[in-house]
C-alpha cells in the first residue's frame, strides 16, 4: 500500500515535468524538424534561474503562495530572452543536412553547461525552503505526500491544457499546425514562417525552462541535470512517437511510472528498464505508440 501510493505519486510527478520538456521537444521537431538536444540544457538553465529568482524574491519576504508564480515567471522570462536568440542561430542551418542540425544543438549543450558553471558554479544548488513551506498531505499515519508535488502536478496539467487549447483552438495554433504540416503551402498562404519558427522555438524553450524551474524546489540543481534529462526526454518521445503530443503524454507517464517503480522496487533497473522499453518500442513500432504518420 505504502509503496504503491508512493510509486503512483512519484510517477505522476516525474511524468508531469517530463511531459513539459518533451512537449517542447515535440513542438520544435514538429514544426522545425530539428531534434533539439539542448532541450535538457534549457531545463537546467530554468532550474538555476528559478533558484536565483526565488532567492531574490525572498529578500522581499513574499508569502509562500507567490513562489509558484515566481518560478513560472522566471522560466518564461528566461525563455523570452534565450529562445529568439538561439533560434536566430539555428536559422543559419535550416536548409542543411539534419545531422548538422543535431550537432549544432549538441554544441549548445556544451556551451550552456559551461555557462551554468560560470554563473552559478559547479556545486549543486538548492532553493530556499520552498518544498516544505507548503506542508504535506497526510493520507495515512505512515503515508504523507508533500503538497509541493501535488502543486507541480497541477501546474504542469494546467500548462499542458493551456498549451493544448492554444494549439487546437486559437488562430496561432492553427497556423503552427499548418506550418508543421506543409511549410511551403503555409508560406504561399501568407504565413510569415520565420516568425512562426521563432515563436514555436521560444515556446519550446519556455516549456523546458518552466519545467526546470518547477522541479527544482523538490530536489537540487546540478550541472549534469541537463544531459541526464535529455536521455529521459528522448525515451519519452521515442515511446510516444516523434512529433505527437498525446504520444508525449503517454510516453511521459510510462517513463515516469517505470522510473518511480524501479526506484522503489529495484533501483538497479531504473534507467535500464526505461531503455528496454524504448528499444522494444523502436523494434516493434518504430514510429512510436501514437505517431501521426508512419
Amino acid at each position: 500500500m505504502l509503496a504503491s501510493a508512493n510509486i503512483l505519486v512519484g510517477g505522476v510527478f516525474h511524468a508531469a515535468v517530463l511531459f513539459l520538456v518533451a512537449a517542447g521537444l515535440q513542438i520544435v521537431f514538429g514544426v522545425q524538424k530539428i531534434v533539439n538536444l539542448a532541450c535538457g540544457s534549457f531545463y537546467a538553465l530554468g532550474a538555476y534561474f528559478g533558484i536565483s529568482a526565488l532567492a531574490w524574491a525572498a529578500a522581499f519576504e513574499v508569502p509562500a503562495i507567490a513562489y509558484i508564480p515566481i518560478l513560472v515567471g522566471s522560466g518564461l522570462l528566461l525563455a523570452i530572452v534565450l529562445g529568439p536568440s538561439v533560434e536566430r542561430l539555428l536559422r543559419l542551418i535550416y536548409d542543411r543536412d539534419e545531422h548538422f542540425q543535431i550537432l549544432l544543438t549538441f554544441a549548445l549543450v556544451l556551451i550552456f553547461e559551461d555557462a551554468i558553471r560560470l554563473i552559478w558554479g559547479a556545486v549543486p544548488l538548492q532553493t530556499i525552503n520552498v518544498y516544505f513551506a507548503f506542508g504535506e498531505l497526510r493520507i495515512a499515519s505512515d503515508l504523507a505526500i508533500p503538497n509541493y508535488n501535488l502543486i507541480v502536478i497541477a501546474a504542469a496539467a494546467l500548462i499542458s491544457a493551456a498549451f493544448g487549447w492554444m494549439l487546437r483552438r486559437t488562430r496561432f495554433g492553427r497556423i503552427v499546425r499548418a506550418t508543421a504540416e506543409n511549410k511551403q503551402m503555409s508560406e504561399a498562404l501568407c504565413v510569415d514562417v520565420s516568425k512562426v519558427y521563432m515563436a514555436v522555438f521560444t515556446l519550446g524553450v519556455a516549456l523546458g525552462t518552466v519545467g526546470g524551474a518547477l522541479v527544482v524546489p523538490a530536489g537540487a540543481a546540478s550541472i549534469d541535470m541537463g544531459v541526464e534529462l535529455i536521455v529521459d526526454a528522448f525515451a519519452v518521445v521515442i515511446i510516444g512517437g516523434l512529433g505527437s503530443m498525446p504520444g508525449a503524454l503517454i510516453g511521459a507517464l510510462i517513463v515516469g511510472f517505470v522510473r518511480s517503480a524501479a526506484i522503489w522496487l529495484y533501483p538497479e533497473f531504473e534507467l535500464l528498464a526505461i531503455y528496454v522499453i524504448v528499444i522494444t518500442v523502436l523494434i516493434v513500432r518504430p514510429q512510436g505508440l501514437l505517431a501521426r504518420t508512419a
Binding site: I93, R96, L108, I111, V231, E270, L271, Y275, P286
Partner: protein
C-alpha cells in the same frame, strides 16, 4: 561529397604530383612516429590516447562519412573495449594481443544484433536508437556494482606484449616506449586496411547508399547488408580504440559509454573533416591536444569547444582537412 575519382587520378598522375599527394599523410605519421623523441612524457601519453581515438574515428567515419549514418551511441563500443581490458588484466591475462583479439570478438558479437536492429532506420531514428543502446550499456555499467564496479569502474593494468619483454620497465616507459610504437603500428595497419576497404567496391557501394538509397537498391546494392557490414567494422574499430584509450587512463568507468562521449566523437570527426580519409586522424590529434591545453588554463573548455563546434557546423562543415585538401588521393 564527391564520388571516388580521386584514386584513379592520383595513380595516373605524374611522379611529382604523387609525391606531393603523399606528403601530408607521410608528415602526419612521421610526427606521430618521432613524437616520443621530441615531446615530454605528458604529451606522449596524450598522443597515445589520440591514436586510440583516431582508430575509433576511422571506424566511425565509415559509418558517418561514407554511409551517412549518424551514431550518437558509438561510445558503447569504446566502453566494450575498455571494460574488456579491465576484466582481462584484473584476471591476470595481460597479453595485449589477446586483449585486442577478445575485445574484437566481443565487439563484433555485440555489434551484429545491435546493428541488425539499428540499420533498419536512418537519420534521426538511427541516432536515437544507437543512443538508446549506449545508454542501456551505460546504466548497466553504472548500476550493477558487483559486476562492473559501478561508478568506480575497473582498474586496468599495463598490458604485456608477446614479442617484447617489458618486465624491467616501469609503467611510464612502457607507455611512452614499446607500447606506444605497438599502437602506432596498429594505427598504420588499421589506416591502411580502412584505405583498402573504402577504396574497394565496399566503399563505393556505401557511398552509393549514402547519396541515394533507392537508386543504389535499384542498381542491385544490398543496402541492409552493406550498412550492417559498415556498422560492424565501425564497432570493431571502436573497441580497438576503446582498449587503447583506456590503457593510459588505467581505468574503465561508465562515463566512457555516456552519450556525451559519443557526441564528442562526432565532434572530433567534424573537426578533422568527415569528407576526408585522414580527417579522423587529424581531428583526434587536434581535439586531444587542444583540450589538454585549454584545460590547463581554464575550467570552461566546454564553452570554447561548443563555440568552435558551432563555427564548424555553420561555416566549415568539411573540417580542417578541407583546408589542406586539393582533391588528393586521400580525399573521398
Amino acid at each position: 561529397m564527391t564520388t571516388s575519382t580521386a584514386p584513379i587520378a592520383a595513380r595516373t598522375a605524374s611522379a611529382g604530383t604523387l609525391k606531393r599527394a603523399l606528403a601530408l599523410p607521410a608528415l602526419l605519421f612521421l610526427v606521430i612516429f618521432l613524437f616520443p623523441f621530441i615531446a615530454g612524457p605528458h604529451y606522449v601519453i596524450l598522443m597515445f590516447s589520440a591514436m586510440g581515438y583516431a582508430i575509433a574515428l576511422l571506424g566511425l567515419n565509415l559509418l558517418f562519412g561514407y554511409t551517412g549514418l549518424l551514431s550518437l551511441g558509438h561510445a558503447m563500443f569504446l566502453a566494450i573495449g575498455a571494460y574488456t581490458a579491465g576484466y582481462m588484466t584484473s584476471t591476470r591475462i595481460t597479453n595485449f594481443e589477446l586483449i585486442l583479439l577478445v575485445a574484437v570478438a566481443i565487439g563484433a558479437t555485440v555489434a551484429v544484433p545491435i546493428g541488425l536492429l539499428c540499420i533498419r532506420y536512418v537519420k534521426i531514428y538511427f541516432a536515437m536508437l544507437t543512443l538508446a543502446f549506449s545508454m542501456l550499456l551505460y546504466s548497466f555499467l553504472f548500476k550493477f556494482y558487483h559486476l562492473t564496479g559501478g561508478d568506480e569502474g575497473i582498474r586496468i593494468k599495463v598490458p604485456t606484449l608477446t614479442a617484447w619483454d617489458l618486465s624491467g620497465l616501469d609503467t611510464l616507459s612502457v607507455l611512452t616506449g614499446p607500447l606506444y610504437y605497438y599502437v602506432f603500428a596498429l594505427l598504420v595497419l588499421l589506416t591502411a586496411l580502412m584505405r583498402c576497404l573504402t577504396g574497394s567496391s565496399l566503399g563505393l557501394q556505401l557511398r552509393a547508399i549514402r547519396e541515394n538509397q533507392q537508386k543504389a537498391e535499384y542498381l542491385g546494392v544490398n543496402v541492409k547488408r552493406y550498412r550492417l557490414v559498415a556498422f560492424v567494422i565501425a564497432a570493431v574499430y571502436g573497441v580497438l580504440g576503446g582498449v587503447i584509450i583506456a590503457i593510459p587512463v588505467g581505468l574503465a568507468d561508465p562515463t566512457i559509454a555516456y552519450w556525451v562521449q559519443s557526441g564528442n566523437l562526432i565532434f572530433m570527426l567534424l573537426l578533422g573533416g568527415y569528407t576526408n580519409f585522414l580527417g579522423p586522424l587529424l581531428g583526434a590529434v587536434v581535439f586531444i591536444f587542444f583540450q589538454d591545453q585549454l584545460m590547463s588554463f581554464t575550467e570552461y573548455w566546454r564553452l570554447t569547444f561548443g563555440v568552435i563546434l558551432v563555427m564548424i557546423v555553420i561555416f566549415f562543415p568539411n573540417g580542417l582537412m578541407a583546408a589542406v585538401d586539393r582533391g588528393r588521393w586521400w580525399s573521398t
